[in-house]
């Protein structure tokens, strides 16, 4: 780890202006991803702007009846918040499925959404990597790629986004509130993370210097049917091979509304909109869930070692939808 200057900005504006004037500065919040990266020289910032003491730790009800969550709310606090547990159980479960209690106690909402891929090629400077250093190559594409992307990858990058929280957020149609030197703006969650395309070095559409200040959850009347199912190589404390967030609004026999999002499969949390649309108006039964799963994965492409994730994703979708149809809960 290179040494750096350590600064505690005294306000959001101060943080943003410092970050804007020094492109080599980085924000640090919980530190659980950044300190990890610094130790293996993935980032070499000139200064760390410690935003962790700024006042962005509130969870408040919005006028619309949703929630506004400060960017510094810890993962633990968010997962345990009573409104979240009652109204957005899939968000609680998604967060609780991630990492460990110790990490969740430190990790913040903003940091979680900004965490970078766990691709082992990205994570070790012994390898070239387009994400770390543009135009150096993607050894994962021709190497060991069991955990890599099956959807939306490019020939420049096959990494996946590791965040569990993001999968729930994208399913819930969240919006990010960010602050730059010019002021605040909002970014719909689906548009926040990017596909790799030709610029895998950019994970998100955050502009340099911008700070996430809050995430806004709209009210989702059927979110109580929410399910978060995470499949992995170890029963706990492991990243997802595949994860699925679902929610269903079923009235009588008919599906009125559906949400399906996948984690561990793409460079961004993957919203399966087409599959959702397919379900609307259909009966909540096994065969329709199967078809929805097929639709969600129809564009999936396998690399040498990750073909199983296509089938696993389909099955996870089927299962999660079935549980959502029963009203939600543990899957």
């Amino acid at each position: 780890m290179k040494n750096f200057a350590y600064v505690r900005p005294n306000s959001v504006e101060d943080a943003v202006s410092r970050a804007t004037s020094d492109r080599d500065a980085l924000f640090i919040a919980g530190g659980t991803n950044l300190v990890d990266r610094l130790k293996v020289f993935l980032d070499e910032p000139s200064q760390l702007l410690d935003v962790s003491r700024l006042a962005m730790k509130q969870i408040a009800t919005t006028n619309e009846g949703g929630l506004k969550i400060g960017a510094l709310v810890t993962n633990t606090a968010l997962a345990n918040n009573i409104d979240v547990r009652n109204n957005y159980p899939l968000l609680s479960r998604a967060i609780l499925a991630g990492a460990s209690q110790q990490i969740r106690n430190m990790a913040t909402v903003g940091g979680n959404l900004m965490q970078r891929t766990r691709c082992p090629y990205y994570y070790d400077t012994a390898f070239p990597c387009n994400k770390r250093q543009p135009d150096t190559g993607c050894p994962a594409a021709t190497g060991i790629n069991r955990i890599h992307a099956i959807l939306g990858s490019s020939d420049r990058c096959v990494a996946v986004n590791p965040s569990d929280m993001s999968v729930a957020m994208v399913a819930l149609d969240a919006t990010l509130e960010v602050q730059g030197v010019e002021g605040k703006r909002e970014i719909p969650f689906v548009d926040f993370h990017r596909l790799p395309g030709n610029t895998p070095e950019r994970d998100t559409n955050l502009e340099p210097g911008e700070l996430i200040t809050a995430v806004i959850l709209p009210p989702v009347s059927f979110a109580q049917s929410g399910v978060y199912l995470k499949l992995r190589d170890r029963a706990s404390y492991a990243f997802a091979l595949v994860s699925v967030a679902t929610a269903l609004e079923v009235s009588g026999e008919q599906i009125k509304n559906a949400r399906i999002a996948l984690g561990g499969v793409a460079h961004k949390p993957w919203r399966a909109t087409e599959a959702e649309e397919f379900l609307i108006g259909k009966a909540a039964n096994k065969s329709n869930f199967e078809q929805a799963a097929e639709i969600a994965l129809k564009d999936a492409q396998a690399l040498a070692h990750n073909g199983f994730k296509i089938e696993l994703s389909k099955r996870a979708i089927r299962r999660a939808l079935a549980v959502s149809a029963q009203g939600g809960g543990e899957a």
């Binding site: 780890m1 082992p120 090629y121 190497g143 060991i144 404390y237 990243f239 696993l312 099955r315």
Partner: protein
């Protein structure tokens, strides 16, 4: 006399471990300490074209940078017992044999500065295509590991005629089983502090399974007398076979510390450990079994392929256990080896027996299904009374009892025979079992016992406790022999100035050391002319002496050469499989083990549980992979190398059976460290077959294999 042996005693070293006072190797605080950080190769085959250390040297706080151009003084040691994990000395030349090989050491006044400067060392390589894929490698006959007498025999052995015997058999099975590279991954990383008091004497604070062996080897490496080296290793944060001999980083640390004449600490990072501190080779084994209708084995053929490194010829001796388990007149064992561009493979908990028994015990299960015989029954019918290679009878063998007791405790008779027939809601439930076996080894050891007027006894020996419970069983042995409460016995271990306590490897420490402790206790009572310690204390006070002291040693007797010694066991387990989403859980476990006398029913149970869990890890998740193009590891830390967490593990019920094995040693005790892992992965995979009807012959059984 108070009975202590066989009871449940809390760890002697427990208090210091739960309070954080226990000081592990590199945690010793030495004034003036400086830090070393390794520079490791990013290619797996080739040579160093150029190495530029200027920038590193100019970095603040940097004291020295060592590369092959200025290798600190190191001598080739004589090749005694096994010698070094890696035959090549660190920084010997410009050649690169595997990714992660040490190419430099940067020394600075803080850890952060050393690590930073190590990253600034610029190495240019001439790269050649590495070979890291076992399937593509060229195999040849494997060498012998230790010669005939040792349990790791040469892999090739033949009796009878396999082909004739199998030609008219009622049932035959043939299958190939594979296991992946596993790493020891002890919780305490490899780390040490070397402190030269002057040019001729050094204290090495390093976790080592073999204090006296390290002392001797370091002395040879440094070209100084053995007395010039002191090894201090009071606590070891896990080793599993990976901390018995000096590794290159240790040699380099001690040699570099001499050059700079400053106490030097080197901690191998978790990533560096993957390539640098050993692993268990991947294996590919083919088992052919032939049996009569009644299940009697007519023939066994077991061939194994394992891989090794350019810097060490180490075969994983998979076939060694086969002649021990089941009787058959016709047996053919063959072992082959290939060289890959990987670091040195080495001993890892039950080296050979573990993968070997995955193949053998899976094959036995397949045979049982083929013949429609209960797998427990099939094993009972094939028990052998003698070691078929050594031609010696087994001593105090209770294998059948393990099988029967295990079946009873588990409720095996309730098993529904057909695969896929047991359900729990939507989950498939499978029951599986496998045998367990590990040789009982013993060598010689020495211990010193001292009785003091304050009413305490001290036991001193260089042996060590890496979590095995040695502190406690030594204290228990002394307490019982001396007629004292355990609390009155103090034990000092892990220091080379103490009498030679032997090596903690091959599960032999307890069987080797406790007889020496017993002998020393008896001798000190003789010296004191007393029946027990309280009497001796009285004599001591009367005479005004400061202490009674005696040293004694113990070694295997001539008598013991008439027997083959082995430990036995049986594992029974339940798994559930959520088939749709490929979610497998181990939900119940019963192990019945026969190790002669059990000294401490608490710590012995923990040893078995720990081994079973490591076996469950092997069965379900442990695998290390290297990038096929560059040979660099892509599974290199505890997030990418999964081993079981709390959530993966059910309660494990441990039972011991059988009487003390006094043919083996005067304590009647055989080792307990490794037996527990053997057969575990087969039991799991057999249960998965019972649950799903799917036979998985390649470990680990990750979700992709269940789809």
């Amino acid at each position: 006399m108070n009975q202590i042996i066989g009871t449940s005693v809390s760890r002697k070293d427990g208090r210091v471990k739960v309070t954080g006072e226990a000081t592990y190797g590199a945690e010793h605080q030495i004034p003036g300490l400086v830090h070393g950080y390794l520079v490791t190769a990013t290619i797996a085959n080739g040579r160093i074209h150029n190495i530029d250390t200027k920038e590193a040297e100019d970095n603040p706080g940097v004291i020295a940078v060592f590369t092959h151009r200025n290798q600190p003084k190191i001598f080739q040691p004589s090749n005694g017992f096994f010698g070094l994990y890696e035959s090549r000395l660190p920084l010997a030349d410009d050649l690169i044999h595997y990714a992660g090989q040490i190419v430099g050491l940067v020394v600075a006044n803080t850890l952060e500065r050393a690590r930073d400067a190590a990253h600034l060392v610029k190495v240019q390589y001439q790269t050649e295509q590495p070979q890291v894929e076992a399937q593509k490698a060229t195999y040849q006959k494997a060498p012998s590991l230790f010669g005939e007498d040792f349990e790791f025999q040469e892999g090739t052995f033949e009796t009878g005629d396999f082909s004739i015997a199998s030609s008219d058999a009622a049932a035959k099975t043939e299958a190939t089983y594979t296991t992946e590279i596993e790493i020891h991954a002890p919780m305490e990383p490899h780390a040490l502090v070397a402190h030269w008091e002057n040019q001729d004497s050094v204290t090495v604070y390093e976790p080592t399974q073999w204090v006296k062996g390290s002392q001797r080897t370091y002395a040879e490496l440094l070209g100084i007398p053995v007395e010039g080296v002191r090894i201090i290793s009071p606590y070891i944060g896990g080793a599993f076979g990976s901390k018995a001999f000096p590794w290159p980083h240790g040699i380099l640390c001690v040699a570099a510390a001499r050059e700079i004449q400053r106490p030097l600490k080197v901690v191998v990072s978790r990533r560096q450990m993957t390539a640098n501190t050993g692993h268990r080779s991947q294996t590919e084994q083919t088992m052919r079994l032939a049996a009569n209708k009644d299940g009697k084995l007519k023939a066994i053929e077991h061939t194994a392929k394992t891989c090794t490194s350019p810097v060490k010829n180490f075969p994983e001796p998979c076939t060694g256990i086969t002649p021990v388990l089941y009787a058959t007149p016709n047996m053919r064992l063959k072992q082959e080896i290939a060289v890959l561009n990987v670091g040195a493979p080495t001993f890892m908990r039950a080296p050979g027996e573990n993968p070997g028994m995955f193949a053998l015990e899976s094959a036995m299960d397949e045979l049982a299904w083929e013949l429609n015989i209960d797998p427990v029954e099939l094993r009972l019918r094939n028990e052998t009374k003698e070691h078929q290679r050594k031609k010696l009878p087994f001593s105090a063998k209770h294998f059948a009892e393990c099988l029967k007791t295990g079946a009873e405790k588990f409720g095996w008779s309730q098993r529904q025979m057909q695969p896929r027939s047991q359900k729990q809601g939507d989950l498939l439930v499978g029951w599986g079992m496998a045998s367990s076996a590990f040789p009982a080894l013993r060598s010689s050891a020495e211990a010193q016992v001292r009785l003091l007027p304050d009413g305490t006894a001290h036991v001193l020996t260089s042996a060590n406790d890496m979590g095995t419970g040695a502190y406690t069983v030594v204290a228990m042995t002394a307490a019982e022999t001396l007629g004292l409460p355990v609390a009155k016995v103090k034990v000092e271990l892990g220091d080379s100035v103490l009498p030679n306590g032997g090596m903690a490897g091959g599960s032999q420490m307890t069987a080797t050391l406790t007889p020496a402790v017993l002998a020393a206790c008896q001798k000190v009572l003789e010296t004191a002319n007393a029946q027990n310690a309280p009497e001796a204390f009285a004599n001591l006070r009367e005479s005004g002496r400061a202490a009674y002291e005696a040293t004694a040693s113990s070694a295997p007797s001539e008598e013991s050469k008439k027997f083959a010694f082995n430990s036995w066991g049986a594992h029974f387990c339940e798994v559930t499989v959520d088939e749709e989403i490929a979610r497998l859980r181990v939900t119940r476990w019963v192990s019945v083990i026969n190790i002669g006398r059990v000294l401490n029913s608490k710590t012995a149970a923990s040893q078995i549980r720990g081994a079973v869990i490591m076996g469950i890890g092997q069965a379900l998740m442990e695998e290390c992979h290297f990038d096929p193009n560059t040979g660099y590891p892509v599974v290199y830390d505890l997030a990418t190398y999964h081993y079981p967490a709390h959530a993966d593990i059910p309660r494990i019920e441990v039972n011991f059976v059988g009487e003390p094995d006094f043919n083996f040693n005067p304590m009647g005790v055989r080792g307990v460290g490794e037996i527990g892992i053997t057969g575990v992965s087969a039991a799991v995979s057999n249960a998965v077959y019972h649950a799903t009807g799917k036979r998985i012959r390649s470990l680990p059984i990750t979700p992709d294999k269940l789809l």
